[in-house]
Structure formats: structure tokens, C-alpha cells
């Protein structure tokens, strides 16, 4: 999957990151992250390290927890490599059905292996995109943790979150959403900036809808794939019918079997194209919009803090106690808030333009590919028709 699907590399080559290799072992995937950079910070101009998924997550969390980046959209973490479904299917096939012929079995195995490979490629791409966005972002790329991630030769000894941490994370999410609800309900908290007001409503709606669309696109792809797989037994049955026949039907059946086999490949390719161009894109932007929402939440939090600080200051002034602390606190909050607002504005506009261009590119590519496939299958069908009709 081309890495520029979701990332707009600013043509800045001072830091280039890519995943040059990946190995899948029993439970985990090991990525080889290669960096090319002329930045003075790094010891060499070209180096690579081996990282696992958990280390990516660690990096992501580090960014999220860093107060400095509160005003930025943190690129969403790549999803965990999940080969479960594929593995299960492969196992089921192995135990399988004695009624399917050897050729059918071979074909289905081939299909499953291709699927496995596709999932593998996708997860590599996702991890790569994550890193590349970080590298492209002017602020985020300068993070110390990032350098460590890229350069540190040893294992970062980051273990996967154990259950307590997972639970903790889960609780934190709940708290966050409760907080958000509270803040928005808070009286007196007026959104001063129309831009943000608009963005908020937009993002909320957009996020739900894109999530919906993503789910459904997944389902479409899934049934398309099932359809393509269905052609396997049909083709096999037709070819065995063909070998049995002694009359003119023989060639017809055999040709038909071949046709279905080729159609299957085409349909399969169509399904995977849909997958890549449409569902993946939707999925990515779903996560991205979630990140944007997070940003807005942080800003809102900052605004609330600011408001609170104002109130505290007023109270302090009336009581004429601890005015200075209240004042400095308020100053801090104000600054923070304004800082956040500015960067958030920039980020959100970036987000929009990124999104638009990415959608456009993918949709166009998808349409072109579908057209190509449709043409190919029409040609195939026509040829077979001619051949069949030509016979007595």
C-alpha cells in the first residue's frame, strides 16, 4: 500500500522513515524501521532498528500524554496486527471437508494464503504511515521519544499493557467522556470562536457517520469476497462434469469452468481493491477524526480550566486573598488555552485538506480500478460466449 495514501509528505527529506522489512513470527510481528536523515541530532545518516507493535503504542501514548502536544492532532496509533480470523480459516480448511477435490483444496488454500499476506501487508503499511506522519509534522518530529524510538538499537523493553493498565486506560476514557459531557453542559462556558463551534458539531457528526460507513464498507467487501470464493466449488464441479461428459457439452462445461476460475480472480481483486481504497481509507479517517475530536476535547478542557481560573481569580479578588497565585494561575490557563486554540485551528485545517485530498485520490483510483476490472471481465465473458456459440 503506497504510503502517501494518508500522508502528505511535505517534500521535506531531512527525515525519512520507512519500514523496510517485516517478519511475522508466531505471535508477533517484527518491523524493521529504517531511517535516513541528515539531521545533526542523529549519530549516523542511515540506520535501522527492529520494533514490535507494543513499542509503537508506547510511542503513541508518550505523545498523547505529553502536555506540549496538547494542541496537536496526534496521529492515531496503528491497529494491532490481527491474523486470528485468517488463521482460523486456514485451520478449518486443514481439518476440512473430504468432499472437496484436491484442486479445490489447493485453490482455497491459495486464497487463504493470499488473504493472510494481504493482512500482513496492510498492517505494515499502517505502522509505516504512523511513523511517516510523525516524521512529517514539524513539531512532532522533534520529540525526544521519537528519536529514541528510531535510533535506540536495543529493545525498548516496553511490555504490552497488562490488564491493570488496560483497565486503567479504559477507565480513563470513561472519565474523559464524562468530563466532556460535564464541560459542555457547564453554564457560562461559551464558545467564543465560531470556527471551533462549527468544527465541533461537524466532527462529532462526521465521526459517527464515517464509522458507520466504514463498518458497512467492510461488510460489502466481505460479501464480495465470499462471492468470489463461491466460484471455486462451482468451477470445480463444472470441470468434473466436463470431464465426465461425452458429448458436445463437454467442451462447454470445461470452458465454463475455466471462465469461472478467471472470474473468481477478478472478483477477488475487485473485493481487495474495495478494501484498500475504500474501507481502509474510511477506517483511517475514522481514527483520525477521533484524534481530532480528542484535540478539541483537550482544548475544551483548557477553556474550562481558563474559565475556572477566571472565576477563582474573581473570588480571590473579592476576598482579597491569594490574588497573586490566582492571577498567575489564570494567566497560565489563558496562555495555554490560546496556544491550544491557535495550534488546534491550524491542525484542524490541515486535517480537512488532508482528508479531502486523500478521499479524492482514493475514490478516483477506486473508480478507475473498478472500471478496469469490469472491462476485463466483460471481455472474458464475451470471449467465452463467442467460443460457446461457435460450437455446434
Amino acid at each position: 500500500m503506497p504510503s502517501s495514501t494518508a500522508v502528505d509528505l511535505h517534500g521535506d527529506s531531512s527525515l525519512q522513515v520507512e519500514i523496510s522489512d517485516a517478519v511475522s513470527e508466531r505471535d508477533k510481528v517484527k518491523f524493521t524501521v529504517q531511517t535516513k536523515s541528515c539531521l545533526p541530532h542523529f549519530a549516523q545518516t542511515e540506520f535501522s532498528v527492529v520494533r514490535q507493535h507494543e513499542e509503537f503504542i508506547w510511542l503513541h501514548d508518550a505523545y498523547v500524554e505529553n502536555e506540549e502536544y496538547a494542541g496537536l492532532i496526534i496521529p492515531p496509533a496503528p491497529p494491532r496486527p490481527d491474523f486470528e480470523a485468517s488463521r482460523e480459516k486456514l485451520q478449518k480448511l486443514g481439518e476440512g471437508d473430504s468432499s472437496i477435490t484436491r484442486e479445490e483444496f489447493a485453490k482455497m488454500k491459495q486464497e487463504l494464503e493470499a488473504e493472510y499476506l494481504a493482512i500482513f501487508k496492510k498492517t505494515v503499511a499502517m505502522h509505516e504511515v504512523f511513523l511517516q506522519r510523525l516524521a512529517a509534522h514539524p513539531t512532532l518530529r522533534r520529540d525526544h521519544n521519537f528519536f529514541v524510538f528510531l535510533e535506540y538499537g536495543q529493545d525498548l523493553s516496553v511490555r504490552g499493557k497488562n490488564r491493570k493498565e488496560l483497565l486503567g486506560g479504559f477507565l480513563r476514557n470513561i472519565v474523559k467522556s464524562a468530563d466532556e459531557a460535564l464541560i459542555t453542559g457547564m453554564s457560562g462556558l461559551k464558545e467564543v470562536d465560531d470556527f471551533f463551534e462549527h468544527e465541533r458539531t461537524f466532527l462529532l457528526e462526521y465521526h459517527t457517520r464515517i464509522r458507520d460507513a466504514c463498518l458497512r464498507a467492510d461488510r460489502v467487501m466481505h460479501s464480495h469476497k465470499c462471492l468470489a470464493d463461491d466460484y471455486i466449488p462451482i468451477s470445480a464441479a463444472l470441470s468434473s462434469l466436463g470431464t465426465q461428459e461425452v458429448n458436445q457439452l463437454k467442451t462447454s462445461f470445461l470452458k465454463l469452468a475455466e471462465l469461472f476460475e478467471r472470474l473468481r480472480k477478478l472478483e477477488g481483486r475487485m473485493a481487495s481493491d474495495e478494501d484498500l481504497k475504500l474501507s481502509d481509507m474510511l477506517r483511517y479517517y475514522m481514527r483520525d477524526s477521533q484524534a481530532a475530536k480528542d484535540l478539541l476535547y483537550r482544548r475544551l478542557r483548557a477553556l474550562a480550566d481558563y474559565e475556572n481560573a477566571n472565576k477563582a481569580l474573581d473570588k480571590a479578588r473579592t476576598r482579597n486573598r491569594e490574588v497573586r497565585t490566582a492571577e498567575s494561575h489564570q494567566q497560565l490557563c489563558c496562555q495555554r488555552f490560546e496556544r491550544l486554540s491557535d495550534s488546534a485551528k491550524q491542525e484542524l485545517m490541515d486535517f480537512k485538506s488532508r482528508r479531502v485530498s486523500s478521499f479524492r485520490k482514493n475514490l478516483i483510483e477506486l473508480a478507475e480500478l473498478e472500471l478496469k476490472h469490469a472491462k476485463a471481465s466483460t471481455l472474458l465473458l464475451r470471449n467465452t460466449l463467442v467460443a460457446l456459440k461457435g460450437e455446434p
Binding site: I210, A213, C226, L227, I234, L241, L249, S377, T378, T384
Partner: protein, 510 residues
Amino acid sequence: MAAEREPPPLGDGKPTDFEELEDGEDLFTSTVSTLESSPSSPEPTGLAEDISTNSNGPKPAEVVLDDDREDLFAEATEEVSLDSPEREPILSSEPSPAVTPVTPTTLIAPRIESKSLSAPVIFDRSREEIEEEANGDVFDIEIGVSDPEKVGDGMNAYMAYRVTTKTSLSMFSKSEFSVKRRFSDFLGLHSKLASKYLHVGYIVPPAPEKSIVGMTKVKVGKEDSSSTEFVEKRRAALERYLQRTVKHPTLLQDPDLRQFLESSELPRAVNTQALSGAGILRMVNKAADAVNKMTIKMNESDAWFEEKQQQFENLDQQLRKLHASVEALVCHRKELSANTAAFAKSAAMLGNSEDHTALSRALSQLAEVEEKIDQLHQEQAFADFYMFSELLSDYIRLIAAVKGVFDHRMKCWQKWEDAQITLLKKRETEAKMMVANKPDKIQQAKNEIREWEAKVQQGERDFEQISKTIRKEVGRFEAKRVKDFKTVIIKYLESLVQTQQQGQDLVTRY
């Protein structure tokens, strides 16, 4: 039907007679009245002549026939179909299924005895001639089943289908006519044909199956898509069934078939009901047959039969497998179409909420395209189903019928064998009697021997006949099968092409 009958060129008194017989009047009554009320006109006289000169031989009949072929045939046809309940004993060795006599029969009863003797002559004549005319060329008869209509209410409701026949065959009185039939009528027709022809070796196309669940849903009046689908499926199956039946040259001449196609009222075939006594009898018979099949071991002297049987076994298995796969395909395609529809909706919503106008527009267009694609997929699913899958299931059932025919052949052989064995025993008895010198017993034994010799001969003849018929039938069946499959495959592929083409157009525009 009465109204459309042209007055024959002969006879002037005719028109008036026919004018009396306007629509609504039963056809048979009209026949009766024409014949009775205008004895002067040549046509009925011709018949009368025929009747009086009972076995005068072919000549008079032929004269009349040549003059006024079409109408006479029509009349002959009607007479024959009237007679059919009585004629059953002639055509089949088994008693016909309990059919309540057609009411008009009673009206014409007085004339029947006189006609019944001549009718066979006419019938055989017409059959031969029709065979000559229809042999070796395309059967010019088209049957359509349409307009399913729900008649009645509640559990007594049923669907009535309109059966339309278009033909230029002369044995039918008109070139285009239609009647209303219900499902049990079709089943009744099939059981009649099967009882007459199956054991002689003809392959009778099987009727569509009963579906209690489906029909109950329709009866209860659920107006959802599954019941409309069911009705549509059944209608298509009935149409195919009739088309196959009329393509068979021998079955086409069957009076029952003609009655089915033509007469506006048909006696209710009650013994096709699932829970009737006849139904249970059928089930018992089937079980008995299955047991018999296992015990009979036939010496297959004819390699052709053995090979064919094996072939059909294989074909059956494979068709079943293919059928299962195609059903899965249909199911998934339907799923795909449903999912695409859902996706189209959410894409539309996404387009709505999208800020950027161009992208918003693009997304809504995508939604539209997807919706149309979904429709296409659905249509394709239907095409898949109706053309491919149904054909396969039809053929699976046909093959079952073929196997049934083979089984009958086996039974016939068995009978022959038994007859031979009994003959042997009788001969032994005779020999014993000879030794014991009991003259009357000898005579009795001799009689029995003669009887059984005849039976043996009969059995042999039957067996030969059935073998011959089966060979011919199978040959025909194979040729038809090949043709059928090819036509269907071609149509199916064309539909796929079309679908792809349309999908292409849509995407291009987008």
C-alpha cells in the same frame, strides 16, 4: 371458446346453430347441441355416417377428415377427451386415479356408447396423422403460465395461475387459448401422465414439488417479499414443467394433457393432497419400491443400459454438488446487494455531513452509484437463480424420473423372470401329472402352461418394448439436455456481461 368456432364451409344451417352457442356455454354442451340440432348438415352427418358404418374402415372417415379436417379434429378431440375417463382402461393397464367424471359427460352419455366404438378409430387415425405431421420438426406450441391470483381466503385459499397456449398444431381447436389452473391441477396432470406412461418406459417430466410452508404463508395472506418470491418461483417452475411436457411427442397427444390445457373446468384432483389417503398410499409404495430395488438383482445383458445407468448416477451426484454451490452463490450475491445498499446509505449521510462541497458532492454521487450497483447485483442474483440454479434442480428431478424409468424396466424384467419360473414349475407339474396319469389334472396343467407361456411371451415383449422405449427416450433426453444446458449457459453469460456492462457505465459516469 364456443364463440370463436368458425362455421365450417359446408352447410348453411350451421351459422344459426353456432350463434346460439355464445360464450359462457360449456364447450361440450355446444358440441352436443350442434350435433343434435343439425343432423342435416354434412359435418355431423359425416360423423353419423362414421358411426353407423362402424367399422367401415378408413375410407369414409378419411373423406370427411380431408374435407373438414380442423373442425372435425376439434370435435374428435372433444369427444375423445370426454371419453377419456372411460378410455382410460384402453390406454393403461392400471385403473385410472379416481377422477370425478366431467359433468358434460353425463349429458353426452347417451351418445357415448355409439361413439365410443368409432372414437378409437378416429383417435388412432388422428394420432397417427398427427405423429406424421409433428414428427421430425419443431413443435409449434408455446405455453405460458402467468397471472398468479389468490382465490379464496384463509386455509382454503389457493393460487390460480393462467395457462396460455399458443399453437398452430391442428389437434387443438384454436390457435390461442387460456385457462385457469391451480397447483393441485398440475400435480393431478402429472400423476395421470405418470400412471399411464412411466411403466411403459417414457420419461415423464416431474412436476414442481409441494411446499406446505410456502403455501401456508401465501394462504395466510402475508404480503411480504418472501411469499411473492415463492409464488414467482412456483409460477416459473410450472411454466417450465408444462413446456417440457408438451415438448414430448407422445405426451403431447395425451388427451389428459389436452384437457388440461383446454377445458375451462377441471375436476379437482383430490388425491394429490399431501395428507390424503392416496398420498399415504404413494408413500407406502415408494418404500416398497425402495426395498424391492435392493433385492432385485438383474442380469444386465445389455451393456448400454449398464453404462447409461452409471452415467446417470454420476451426473446426478455432480449436478447436486453444482446446485449446492450455485445456491451459495445466489445467497452471497443477495447479501452483497443488501450490504451495498446499506453502504450506499451511509455514504450518502457522510456526503451530507462533509464540509467541503466538492467532496460532499462526490460522496453523494458515490452513494447513488453504489445504490444502482446494488440493484444490479440483485438482478444478477435473480438471474443466477432462475436460470442456473432452477435448471439444475429441474434436471436433478428429471434424472430421478429417469432412474424411475430404469427401475420400472427392472420390475418388468422381474415379472418376466417370474413368469418364466412359474412356467417351468407348471411344466414340471405337467410332467408329474403325466407320470401319475391323471387326465383331468393333465388338462388343467396344460391349460396353465399355455397361460403362463402366454405370460412369458407377454413379459418378454413388454421387456423388449420398454427397453426400446427407454433407449429412444434416453437419446431424446440427452439431446434435449445438451440443448437446454447450452441455451441456459449462454443466456446466463449474456446476463453477466450485461451486468458488468451496466456497472461499467455507471462507474464511468461517476
